[in-house]
Assembly symmetry: D2
Homo-oligomer: 359 residues x 4
């Protein structure tokens, strides 16, 4: 069963394929009277937009968002009305290329074979629904989510490319906007420039790890068991194209720790307890602690590479394939604004859910 | 908002606290005419039951399941009727101990503080709803799920304890039942015995990594975007107590790979394509490939340890706490059958969802 | 797909068959710190309990409710904790009668044939899941719902039996508790006693209309389109056994009116507008107006009658059937407390939903 | 909480206001490989389109639908792909009229006051989200639903206007397309022409009753309790603007019947049982019987009339209002294609749900 909605109270339904008429989303459940303009949404979309450096796909898309519903001009400017907010982004660069090389072959590492196995049909044009273009709709929704929880600051950064991790001592959020990698370590960013150039020129691709940090999340959001904040974050991040792993706080590192090293001790603070560390990543028992919520996720290398790979075709015959076209050498880069959007949506949803049950 | 249900078509709602009258679940949407007895469910519950070795909590619970509804005796034995299957496990060993030491103090690394921040009240008796006892209800539901997809084989194993990983060359599924750790590497299991004894005796605890493998999942289960099989698996596994990370296939390792090393090449097979590797963990674009579905997750060390830790009390004062009582030195061990149950539930759900949309 | 849950924020999942071990429900999403005892739930259950007069089934069920989870003893008495509240009612009078007469025959007007058509199996013992016994679980859930919205007063009354309508000029809520019909018109109640006796003795049954009134519902609950308060009320009431019609306010009568007669005019009041009439039944555009919410529903006559009726058996052969056993001559009577419960659940749900989105 | 989605497996999310940029819907869960063109959807939209006779609003809307996603051109023509189908209808006749007369006054019988009570803001332009224009999106979705269950024939007809009921002996489906009222009784239709002209010219409006009939629904769709087919139909029909009552089969008439008169007797047929009557309206225990599914609903008279009515303004002052502009004298007329669409959506959903659980 296809299911293109996420969230309970702040509900986002996305639609659209790489080479269709348009893509977009319907944001349902947004509180009323929140100032919201297309320009604000556009700002986030522009951060994700392809073609901004030589390190992302050269596809040219204006990615211009239109608000179709759910807002109204008032004396205080344009605000939400509480009704569904439909956002649309028209596709403009659906290059009418020749798809004959992939129409009947399954690209290894792509969803070509699985879509066909599921639906008995596959929109091969630019990857159809499995294209990373769908994430534009998420970023648009995330921009709305940010307005629902204005005090919460959600930021993400690329912290590893291939085997190369940043030096956390160098972490500077301001640097994230100063390099094409959303990398908070300026030194490592300089290295990535050369490193990724080599990969790009050799027709290959590389994986990455991204970290998302949400600050000013009050204690008490989330819920036990299947309403866990970390469970919803895991689902949200894992739903991003090419993601193969998610961790919260100390994550897989926690498996190596002893109880006395992992549990975050508490001291008295002016506004509730102060924690002496944050192995928990801001979440205990599925509920926020008031510390920064910290998640990381791994993005696999794009499978669209220039090296020929063994595969089969729809008729069952064996063949080779190499993927020409405009692709991201490190698709993890553009996952950065997408991850922020997903985390913002999850938090906006949990804010409303918490307020509903707890007043 | 509390949300104690998971799944769309195969829907499980659990209830119950550590020291309440009973815990259990309602399994809704199960297909009719499936043979199902309490004994079959009990088999899975017994694998999770505490007190089976010195390496799990010494709490004595019969964990005896009763089927309250949804089945009927027929000539073919007891079968499901298509109506909700309610399963109940009565609590029998709610030791009426003195809780004064934790009633008003927040145990670091526990959900004590966050439950109170959320609800303004906390069931401190044995951890209330945050207790690992809730997972008994999941295991019961998982036993039903297995009957819905009888051809699918879901097995899990402990593959790392603290920093010590198993040797994959030694992997033998039969060994999983021969040691108290659900460990598939007999040599490492022998080592774990000593290792965990030392930790247990020192009043400490340790983390672990568990791997779940589902075989015979046909290609085509799952769906794009927010219906992704891996997204649902991530949510399901992250919802288990103490889990801090989830990965599919190559997982975080994929971040270090190049495209040509990560994408699984295909050759022609008798029943659809054959893959030459399984970095994808059996899932591409959120849809199963027909290969084994492989997931791993990290479990943090129990925070209930005998070493005193700094904390605060409900009045905001600073204090120390050490957690006496019956606890698991490596809570990851008992997570093994729980993970199998969660994966079985997710797969049963996706089987029904796929059948609904695709016939 | 079976779906035994209703509500979004205040979510009720029921389970259980007429002749199973037990029936009950899980109430999820209930706010924390609400005083709740089994005795309060029992009060509502006792109003629905069979065997209280000669006008309802003579089945003897204690209908004793147990709270299995979700509450905790505090200094202020027993209160909810925000976690799922499981309620169980054990079946005690599952008379081990001979079912051979209905096991293989479909009773006309019953769900016998449709359950079999759907599931390929049918729990014929007492009607299985289609038995009115399931409504006990609803009443229990409704008792919890009432505690969530203590200022709202939900009451129902039988306003028609067969073709005989009450005289609205005689409406007295106090009379509802003074006759076995929940009838607010004492004169008509006296008439019903004779009327129903005749029907009962002749082995027949009769339909009824029930009206539910919810007072003190603030303006603003509900939502446009598919979150409409009246849409949810219609679904909730139509889900009760034997209900064949639902109307809000003027209902079907509104079809006969002109615009100037139907629209409720408004005047200024101390707390918002005052309406000069209530054809809307307290709901406009799916959202409550602040007036009393008024719904009515029609209950068909029980199909379990002593007159032989034409039917077929499972083998496809033609036969006759008459239903012996303990049945309600007017099943609409016991629908009164059930309807109150359903309306209370819908309102509690919309209260939480409204608070979530609107603060 | 706003909730603009209905359905479980066949899920429709609508968006849009009367005077916004566009309205539309996202249809999620549609099976793949179903032929679908904009022209087919347009056909249904044209039946609902305003301005086709003097008996509906004179607003001129092209109501031209665009398919934004979810379809693909193949050798067999354009087909669905299994991914979300987004449909958009741009608003073209948002007459920039002067809204000063309703901007600050609440029209009696309208949702003006309740939207404001809920959201603290109200899109007064043409009724905003509460406008009947939203139903265009439903009709578009319904056209897709029809393609999912091509063997099922869903038709509706106006059977009562004001107090005037059609003569059922005259029922002729062909007549429905031959008069501007969707009336199956040609004689009554002729009468309605005069009757409604008088009402229209006097600046008033009138209510109506519509009947929907779905033929060829196989036995077994629907489910017990909260997944009841009739419960979902009631919610779907009650969600249509101005609907105040819904009934299935004998409906409120069943309340007046005795058991032996209401229960539909069965005889053996070639393909399962044959029923001798259809008081049940094709549904027993929430599950379809294989007979025609029959539902009726009451539509109140439009509150937008030329007669001045007492009301209050936003400042709380008392005033009068009369609604100029382009309105339907009998809004029930255009509810006919909308009702067909809703019923088609509910049936498509239950078809997929049944197939999911039961194979």
């Amino acid at each position: 069963m296809s299911f293109n909605t996420f969230g309970h109270m702040f509900r986002v339904t996305t639609f659209g394929e790489s080479h269709g008429v348009a893509l977009g989303c319907v944001v349902d459940g947004c509180p009323p009277r929140i100032p919201l303009t297309a320009a604000e949404i556009q700002r986030d979309l522009d951060r994700r937009k392809p073609g901004q450096s030589r390190f992302t796909t050269q596809r040219q898309e204006a990615d211009q968002v239109k608000i179709l519903s759910g807002v109204m001009e008032t004396e205080r400017g344009q605000v939400t009305t509480g009704t569904p907010i439909a956002l649309m982004i028209e596709n403009t660069d659906q290059r009418s290329k020749d798809y004959s090389d992939i129409k009947d072959k399954y690209r290894p590492g792509h969803a070509d074979y699985t879509y066909e196995a599921k639906y008995g049909i596959r929109d091969y044009r630019g990857g159809g629904r499995s294209s990373a273009r769908e994430t534009a709709a998420r970023v648009a929704a995330g921009a709305v989510a940010r307005k629902v929880i204005p005090d919460v600051k959600v930021r993400a950064a690329l912290v590893q490319m291939g085997p190369h991790k940043i030096d956390r001592a160098n972490w500077n959020w301001d640097d994230v906007t100063r390099n094409p990698f959303f990398c908070p370590d300026a030194t490592k960013a300089a290295f990535f420039e050369e490193y990724l150039d080599e990969i790009r020129k050799s027709g290959s691709s590389i994986g990455a790890v991204i970290e998302v940090v949400a600050e000013n999340v009050p204690a008490g959001w989330g819920a036990p068991i299947y309403g866990k904040l970390d469970s919803d974050l895991a689902a949200a991040l894992m739903s991003i194209n090419a993601v193969k792993g998610v961790e919260i706080g100390a994550g897989f590192g926690a498996a190596e720790l002893r109880g006395e090293d992992n549990a975050d001790e508490m001291r008295a603070g002016n506004n509730g307890p102060v924690f002496l560390s944050n192995h928990a990543g801001g979440i205990l028992g599925g509920i926020s602690t008031g510390q920064a919520v910290v998640a990381r996720f791994a993005v696999k290398p794009t499978s669209s590479i220039l090296t020929p790979r063994k595969t089969v075709d729809r008729a069952g015959g064996e063949t080779d394939i190499l993927t020409k076209g405009r692709h991201d050498p490190c698709v993890g880069i553009r996952a950065v604004p997408v991850a922020e959007a997903m985390v913002a949506c999850v938090l906006a949803d949990h804010f409303l859910r918490h307020r509903g049950q707890n007043g």
